[in-house]
């Protein structure tokens, strides 16, 4: 030790080790300040994409069961609520919640005399809890997939409402697929994955010849009034229907006696209405 101090080599070693520690610390600082947030963002974006895929699979399962009409048949879809984060310090860890409510999202199809042709109800809502990116809310109401990010609603999957106008006969037909989601109201949250099992309990299709002068009204209880208004308007206008009193259809919105918002779509001079009502049991496990 005494020799080392005398010839100066020990001092050199200490200085070089200090320099290496300095380099390592500055590298770590750069990684923490720049890369980890970027990685965290990337992990969250991937989680968002996967959740959307999962909910598309859920809708696909409901469509498939409804079309097949195999009562008692089940299909399962995975849903990932969040991410446990990446391997480095768990960056990108995010959680989410899933709520199923069998009473919300009521849809009714009636005429002006008060005759009810069909009803649908039940919503599935996913809410993310992200740190680096904007949170998203994905809702499935009346089969429609709606993503809300930054307060803006985007339709990711249209509802099963099809309007067809025959150019030759001028006959207008509307097809409506109504989903009734039953099962216990469920609310789960966390970072893990769950399975949603969809079982078709019953399926019934009806076709109605609509008498002249009968107005058919579809009322949708929803918080997303603007998006539903635009969607229904586009669906009708794509077939050449004209909006306005005395024309082919009217759209209005408002709130019921309890203050719940709704959108009302009235179609005049309809010739044929086909309604399929599918009752599902959704179980989360």
């Amino acid at each position: 030790m005494r020799n080392s101090i005398r010839d100066g080599s020990g001092v050199t070693n200490v200085v070089s080790i200090l320099m290496i520690i300095g380099i390592v610390v500055s590298l770590m600082g750069m990684v923490f300040a720049t890369y980890l947030p970027a990685w965290g963002k990337d992990v969250e974006v991937q989680t968002k994409v996967e959740v959307m895929d999962n909910i598309i699979d859920l809708r696909s399962n409901l469509d498939t069961l409804s079309v097949g009409g195999d009562t008692g048949a089940s299909l399962s879809a995975k849903i990932r609520l969040g991410s446990t984060g990446g391997p480095l310090f768990g960056f990108g860890r995010s959680s989410g919640s899933l709520d199923m409510d069998e009473e919300s999202g009521l849809v009714t199809v009636v005429d002006q005399a008060g005759n009810t042709y069909g009803q649908g109800r039940g919503t599935v809502v996913y809410r993310s809890n992200h740190l680096y990116t904007e949170d998203q809310i994905i809702s499935m109401e009346m089969g429609a997939l709606i993503r809300n990010e930054g307060g803006v609603d985007i339709l990711k999957g249209p509802p099963n409402i099809v309007i067809k106008r025959d150019e030759n006969t001028d006959q207008t037909t509307i097809f409506i697929s109504l989903f009734i989601l039953e099962g216990q109201d469920v609310s789960v949250s966390g970072t893990q994955s769950y399975m949603i099992s969809s079982t078709l309990l019953s399926e019934e299709g009806s076709e109605y010849d609509i008498a002249a002068g009968t107005d058919i009204t579809i009322t949708i209880m929803t918080e997303r009034v603007l998006l539903w208004t635009d969607t229904l308007r586009e669906t009708a206008e794509e077939q050449g229907l004209v909006e306005g009193a005395g024309n082919d259809f009217e759209i209005s919105s408002g709130t019921d006696v309890l203050g719940n918002p709704f959108v009302s779509f009235v179609i005049h001079d309809l010739d044929i209405m086909k309604i399929r009502s599918s009752v599902f049991s959704l179980d989360v496990y």
Binding site: A38, D42, V49, S60, V67, P158
Partner: protein, 274 residues
């Protein structure tokens, strides 16, 4: 000082070697997994078409999805693969005709055309192209073509012979192409369907003529499917293969020599992007 610098260099080289090797292996694994998913997506689309055809449902639609690329890995800067998914209604690219060969006029009784394809653009694993033709799924990897699944063909043995039933999907609606890495939401619906039962007279042959870039896989698939269900090549059926598999002017011909009847079920499908 020298020891410290050497240690530091060793750490750096070990770190970069790990990143390079792990990135390669992980990237390859991701891409292989993604290709399996593409195959599954086509299978789900086919299943949706089958549901709509069986229930003769022209009103509603079934939602599906197709993911074009891989997500990559943010920690090691792994490249993301992309892909191209197209709807190609052109009958010059795929067509299957059912022809009644009677030695004279050979009338075409029915046909389906149009196809969908996915072309992968991978960085780590081999590129693969997937074709969906009439309900069959075919894979092309560096011009080696194989089948994932053939269109549904069912042979039923009867006391006096055999009958054949085939499901096929026509995709002759609009054309579109999507490229990128994201997930596409798709809407599958049926414009119409028809079913023909053809009962040949003695001396008549029912011939299935396939014009496709994947004729080799079609030939191998038909041979296997028909043999597995108890038919004998040269007795019950025969294959007339094109001289040049790559010649779009030449076609594969599968002759059904002795069926009592042949039922051809066709769904005229529409696949659209949401």
């Amino acid at each position: 000082m020298a020891t410290a610098v050497m240690l530091f260099a060793l750490m750096l080289s070990l770190g970069s070697s790990f990143l390079l090797n792990y990135g390669e292996v992980s990237g390859k694994e991701n891409e292989m997994h993604h290709l399996t998913e593409i195959d599954s997506s086509f299978m789900r689309i086919r299943n949706s078409m089958l549901k709509l055809t069986r229930s003769e449902d022209t009103s509603t639609s079934i939602m599906n999805r197709m993911t074009l690329g891989t997500p990559g890995n943010p920690y090691i800067g792994m490249a993301r693969s992309s892909g191209e998914f197209s709807m190609d209604p052109d009958p010059n690219h795929f067509k299957m005709e059912v022809v009644l060969e009677d030695g004279a006029t050979d009338p075409v009784l029915n046909s389906v055309s149009g196809s969908m394809y996915y072309r992968g653009n991978n960085y780590y694993f081999n590129d693969q192209d997937y074709y969906f033709e009439a309900g069959g799924i075919f894979i092309n990897e560096y011009d080696f073509i194989t089948r994932s699944v053939m269109p549904s063909v069912l042979i039923q043995q009867t006391q006096t012979g055999w009958i054949m039933e085939m499901e096929a999907y026509d995709l002759s609606s609009s054309a579109w192409t999507a490229t990128g890495i994201e997930t596409l939401a798709l809407r599958i619906n049926m414009a119409g369907s028809f079913s023909n039962v053809i009962t040949p007279f003695p001396g008549q042959i029912i011939s299935l003529r396939v014009n496709s870039p994947n004729e080799q896989a079609w030939a191998a698939g038909f041979r296997e499917v028909l043999r597995i269900q108890g038919l004998v090549e040269g007795v019950d059926f025969s294959l007339d293969e094109p001289v040049d598999w790559t010649d779009p002017g030449d076609h594969l011909e599968v002759d059904l020599l002795t069926p009592e009847n042949f039922q051809f079920n066709v769904g005229q499908m529409e696949v659209s992007l949401i």
